[in-house]
Each structure stands twice: as structure tokens, then as C-alpha cells.
């Protein structure tokens, strides 16, 4: 994999506790799955960084290689890859996502 992209990904994941690689931005998602995770994080009032892969084709391919995961969005919490929208949605509905945020000492609003 392109080393520059690999380092860029590592930096983003290292510097942002909650990092969402997505299509579009949290305010203007370009894909329903990206919007879904972004909205869950907003509902939980989690402070996260959305990274728009549509702005960088190398990043779009690079993130898939990085996690060995073929789709976007991809959510990372404190460096750990949590999954795509299906997994995150299941975790959100079961309360596992909230548990994970607590375990990793990330602030969120309990509903």
C-alpha cells in the first residue's frame, strides 16, 4: 500500500479518538450508510472526526486495504476498527456501542 496514505490513516486514527471514514461530511453525507453512522454519533453527542474519502481516491482505496474491509463507512474508536454501518447499527441498538464508548473513556450523552 502507498506509504503516504498509510501514514495519513495512522495519523488520523491516532489523533482522533473517534474517527469516521465516510463518503461526504457529517453535515453533508453522500451515502445512506455514511449518514447512518454519522447520525448515531450525533445522537449520542460524540465528538468525532469525519474524513471524506470522496476527496481523495487513494485514501478511499487505502482505507479498505488498511482494515481489510471492502466498504465505507468505517468507524474507529481509539485506534480500534469497530466495523461498517451494519455492525455499528447493531451495536448502537443493543447498547454495545455505548458500552464500548464508556470502556474507552469517550464522552457521550446517555439517552
Amino acid at each position: 500500500m502507498n506509504e503516504t496514505i498509510n501514514n495519513l490513516i495512522k495519523n488520523e486514527i491516532g489523533q482522533n479518538d473517534v474517527c469516521l471514514f465516510m463518503k461526504g461530511t457529517p453535515d453533508a453525507p453522500q451515502c445512506g450508510f455514511s449518514m447512518a453512522i454519522s447520525n448515531m454519533l450525533k445522537i449520542l453527542e460524540v465528538n468525532f472526526k469525519g474524513i471524506n474519502v470522496l476527496e481523495n481516491e487513494e485514501l478511499r482505496q487505502g482505507i479498505k486495504a488498511f482494515s481489510d474491509w471492502p466498504t465505507i463507512p468505517q468507524l474507529y474508536i481509539k485506534g480500534e476498527f469497530l466495523g461498517g454501518s451494519d455492525i455499528v447499527k447493531e451495536m448502537y441498538e443493543s447498547g454495545e456501542l455505548q458500552k464500548k464508548l464508556s470502556e474507552k473513556s469517550i464522552n457521550y450523552t446517555k439517552k
Binding site: 471492502p70 466498504t71 454501518s85 455492525i87 447493531e90
Partner: protein
């Protein structure tokens, strides 16, 4: 490029022979699917590993020909 339902089902079946599969074409456009897959192969595996088994079954089509496939995996008892 779209993929039809039968093709998705047969790819999954080939890789996960005991799979019970329920696929729905959400928009009727051959491009947005939702699949529930139940298999004993998922036992003891994390959700990420379970979904990777399904992605591997689809042989690289996920994210390419197949744009939108929501996946739900369940362990068979």
C-alpha cells in the same frame, strides 16, 4: 453495474454451505440489497470476522459491482 439476487445467493451458498439466506432487493433496482445470513460457521467469531466471511464469499464484488448490501449475520444453534 448491478448484480442479481440469485447470483448473490449462490456465491454465499458456495462459500457457506449451511447458510440460511434471506435477501431482499430494497429498491427494486438490483443495486440495494439487504441480506440476513444464518450459519454455524459464525459461531464464536466477532461480528467483523462474520461479515468478512460474507465479503470473502462475494469474491471482491462488494464495494464494486455490488454497491449497497446491508448484512446481518446470525449464529446457527
Amino acid at each position: 453495474m448491478a448484480m442479481d439476487l440469485i447470483e448473490i445467493e449462490s456465491l454465499v451458498k458456495k462459500a457457506i454451505p449451511d447458510a440460511v439466506i434471506d435477501i431482499q432487493d430494497l429498491a427494486g433496482d438490483g443495486n440495494h440489497y439487504s441480506a440476513t445470513i444464518i450459519s454455524s460457521l459464525f459461531k464464536g467469531k466477532s461480528k467483523i470476522e462474520q461479515h468478512k466471511i460474507v465479503y470473502n464469499a462475494l469474491k471482491g464484488k462488494m464495494g464494486n459491482e455490488l454497491h449497497a448490501l446491508a448484512i446481518k449475520t446470525k449464529e446457527k444453534d
